[in-house]
Symmetry: C2
Subunit: 190 residues, 2 copies
């Protein structure tokens, strides 16, 4: 087997998700994941630090998508509008990933250790977004609040998108969630 394996990262992520769904996270080893992907255990650990990380290979890309999109919007645009635009851009990242994202979510929710890892990733995303907002001139605390609010919209919109049986554009769910959060702050009863 050569050292270079085409799409090794994705194949490992897919194999891990399949095995975690079939047998459970605890019952699966890195060696088994590598085997299912037709790769070696050494290759697994070249790509992922541990059995949890294999489900979070996209986190850095997602964070980069958030930060790059936000950084590209003129600083004159109000934070809430910049967040709306950023979420539209980020939504495209999930195109054709509906099935994978649904199954991944179910596996993560079934295991506290994976849930913890996900919360850390979201906290990192929130911190990166906060920094980007501050770089736009938004005062520190407002930037922090806006970043947390953006994460709330992202999480709820994502869940709603994942809950649908058939894939609909994720951007629609982000828009809907952002509007709902606006309504909450406008003091609407529901």
């Amino acid at each position: 087997m050569g050292r270079w394996e085409p799409n090794a990262r994705d194949r490992l992520a897919q194999a891990a998700l399949d095995l975690y769904s079939e047998r459970g996270f605890e019952q699966t080893t890195a060696a088994q994941i590598a085997e299912r992907a037709g790769l070696t255990e050494r290759t697994f650990f070249r790509h992922y630090a541990d059995k949890r990380e294999v489900l979070f290979g996209g986190s850095e890309l997602l964070e980069k998508a958030f930060v790059d999109s936000m950084a590209a919007i003129p600083a004159s645009v109000a934070p809430v509008d910049a967040i709306a635009t950023t979420l539209e851009t980020v939504a495209s990242y999930f195109t054709d990933r509906h099935d994978y994202a649904r199954r991944r979510r179910d596996v993560i929710n079934a295991h506290p250790g994976l849930r913890e890892r996900e919360l850390i990733k979201i906290a990192s995303l929130s911190a990166a977004l906060e920094t980007t907002l501050r770089d736009r001139g938004v005062p520190a605390h407002a930037a922090s609040l806006a970043a947390e609010a953006a994460m709330a919209v992202f999480k709820v919109g994502f869940e709603r998108w994942a809950d649908t049986e058939e894939e609909h554009p994720m951007a629609d769910f982000f828009r809907e969630s952002l509007d709902e959060l606006r309504n909450v702050f406008a003091g609407k009863a529901s």
Copy 2:
């Protein structure tokens, strides 16, 4: 040493915080915490499941304070106003805890394992608040968004309160943060 120890929980929490600050979390054992508190290791494990939990003994009380306060507000009150009132009530929970809370925060931020545990506690708090909002008749997704927004205000308000050298009423910081988040959603630039 008798089986019943007055304030054992608080004494263990205080001793743990002292030792984590002095030596670091990794370098401290449950036995050392018990010794510093003048208690036995067995007593430690009667009160806390592990070395991390000892810093989160107040989490259930805090969650109860959030839920009880929210549940007591008439359902006719708009969610954002119910959140504002709930945060005012919860703020009183932190009276006279400024020094402890500041030191605890510094210890938690210095250790990823403690940070993960804290994120899980906040996620649990958010879920409890979401359920309480749904019980008030708020639709599921709006309840989820409002609960996440409440947590954002709580986190940022808490940080701001903890950042001050002298203790000021926490409720002021919650009000300020909630107003800032309202401004963000009203489309204000900063």
